[in-house]
Amino acid sequence: MSALLRMEGVAANYGAVQALVDVSIHVDQGEIVTLIGANGAGKSTLLMTLCGDPRARAGRITFDGEDISNLPTHAIMRRGIAQAPEGRRVFPRMTVRENLMMGAEALGQPGDELPRVLALFPRLEERIAQRAGTLSGGEQQMLAIGRALMSKPRLLLLDEPSLGLAPLVVKQIFGAIRRLNAEAGVTVLLVEQNANLALRLAHRGYVLVNGRITMAGTGAELLAREEIRDAYLGGGAS
């Protein structure tokens, strides 16, 4: 089975610092793949490099067989990749509906995905005419994911969707990601600090340490590894 997304030997800088070293990962169609690692390991840089900002200094990134390493950011996002960026970044003074519509209109699409997004996140439907800036953190995260889904992406990139959210809300959001993958068949690349939850959700995972991939395996495999439990799960606690 050929991978939907493949990064081969990718290196990238974040400013003057080399943030990614020889990173090779792949994401198959229909998978949830998670990327875990400590603060500053390069997780977000990896997602950003995928989107062409910063550009990969070495290596190759292919999406659906096409080399996207040298495309400008907006061209990459038009090929069926959508991102819910770190820290949500909803448009605070626009309504929920306008935010969602931006996700489709930015790519010249009519926005007919709206009913499905609202079905996935009923809370957004309740707040549809409200300013996005007045939503709670969890609702903003739902909005950011919903906005990314409006362009009917084949690959959804999620950057720390659990950031700053209450455990109950995180659970809701992870449930939605699982449903999205199982029912709509959306492929997901998930960057998370919450390794426990992420590895339980994902089919496969990669561990990023100081810009290098140090481990790879299925979610269950990684969860069982001693080193992972020590480093990311707080020394064997559940």
Binding site: P85, F91, M94, T95, R97, A106, A129
Partner: protein, 418 residues
């Protein structure tokens, strides 16, 4: 603070004021026969000291108390819905109102020019959120384009108008490219420099622009080939009217009204298009825009270009109305006034910008008799507006897409202070 302490503090302020003003204001030298004489102006000093005392007292008594945020009473808000049609009707009928003379018409033209410039800048600052301190540069490009094209090639106003718009838009793109990566303060500085560069070029390129002397004898516009002159075949002759120079002023008035309404219409249309919403999204969050696949470069450049185009139109109109252009008309203070109109009006609000232009331009005209006190009142009015209504006169935003009915967005969610 106890009343005694308050009084003592105010008294101290008065003492300091006396120390300062006694030599500065109280003593005045005057030329008399055979030399200088010293004259005292102690009544003036007394007034100033009293002012300092009362002022300090007021500051102390009001300190800690929140200034009231003026929220409009309900009937006024309801009336606000009819404000736009009311002002439009007033603008259309103005030349036919009984009390309107030549002076009022000229003032109307001036106000409408600034309304148009405000609406144009609103696209760049209010919608796309790109702080532009050099907007007058595009106004200048439009004015000089029209002047040079009509003087050199004898092209008519209606041919020059779109050309001047295109040239100004081109200047907008020219400015846009180097500042694509800049935001906020840095962007403002570069646009400020751009405005100055254009003005300095206009002043020094004597062979083309006439330098500080400017260009004069710029042809007046006609209505479908009819010129507004007293000779045969002119406007008055054609319609069998008695010649009256006011005809031309009325024509110019409707011309600028039409141009301003065109600016408004295009802005309102664009706000409903993906491009206009991309501008608003850009103002909100540039990184999110990139994540959604919006081409940020193109979005920014179109905002600069379209905003500049309308300044170019306004510049053309300015040149033809004055029949004379010189670099003096395009100084930084013009940019500042236009920006003040946009900010005071409430960024992004069309009605607010129009009201602010009326207030600022019409208001300063109204106080013309007060001579140098005029600018003081102007400044004080700006401060008062920003304190009482920090989000501008019309600080609400109507959603560009809504489910059933459009609800105005409360001022709390509209930008403040940047």
């Amino acid at each position: 603070m106890t009343p005694v302490a308050t009084l003592r503090d105010a008294g101290l302020a008065a003492l300091v004021a006396f120390g300062l003003f006694a030599p500065l204001v109280g003593l005045r030298t005057e030329v008399v026969e055979g030399g200088l004489a010293l004259r005292g102006r102690w009544d003036d000093v007394a007034w100033l000291v009293l002012l300092a005392f009362v002022g300090r007292l007021a500051v102390l008594l009001l300190a800690g108390r929140r200034l009231p945020r003026l929220s409009l009473p309900a009937p006024l808000t309801r009336a606000g819905r009819h404000a736009a049609p009311f002002f439009l009707g007033l603008a259309l009928l103005l030349p036919w109102l009984p009390f309107v003379e030549r002076y009022e018409l000229d003032l109307g033209i001036l106000v409408l020019t600034y309304v148009m410039l405000g609406w144009g800048l609103n696209i760049v600052v209010g919608l796309a959120g790109l702080l532009d301190l050099g907007y007058v540069a595009f106004y200048a490009v439009g004015a000089y384009s029209y002047a040079l094209l009509s003087l050199t090639y004898g092209l008519s106003f209606w041919v020059c108008l779109p050309l001047a718009g295109i040239l100004a838009a081109f200047a907008g793109v020219l400015l846009g490219f180097p500042v694509l990566r800049l935001r906020g303060d840095y962007l403002a500085i570069v646009t400020l420099a751009f405005g100055e560069i254009i003005r300095v070029v206009l002043t020094n390129w004597v062979s083309l622009t006439g330098g500080p002397n400017g260009l004069s004898g710029i042809p007046r516009p006609g209505l479908f080939g009819l010129s507004f002159t007293s000779e045969e075949g002119g406007f008055a002759d054609f319609f069998g009217l008695d010649y009256d120079p006011v005809h031309r002023v009325i024509f110019l008035y409707y011309l600028i009204l039409g141009l301003a309404l065109l600016t408004n219409w295009v802005t309102l249309r664009l706000r409903r298009q993906p491009l206009g919403r991309a501008w608003e999204a850009l103002r909100e969050d540039e990184i999110a825009c990139r994540a959604l696949g919006i081409n940020v470069t193109v979005t920014k450049l179109t905002a600069f270009a379209i905003g500049a185009m309308f300044a170019g139109f306004a510049g053309s109109f300015f040149a033809t109305r004055q029949a004379f252009v010189s670099p003096e008309s395009f100084t930084f203070i013009e940019s500042a006034i236009i920006l003040a109109i946009v900010v005071l009006g409430g960024m992004g609000s069309q009605l607010g910008v129009a009201l602010a232009a009326l207030l600022l331009i019409g208001g300063t005209e109204l106080f013309r008799d007060l001579a140098e006190w005029r600018m003081l009142i102007f400044g004080a009015a700006m401060v008062v507006i920003m304190v009482v209504r920090p989000r501008g006169l019309v600080g609400t935003r109507t959603p560009s897409i809504a489910l059933k009915e459009k609800r105005a967005i409360g001022g709390n969610f509209v930008s403040e202070g940047h």
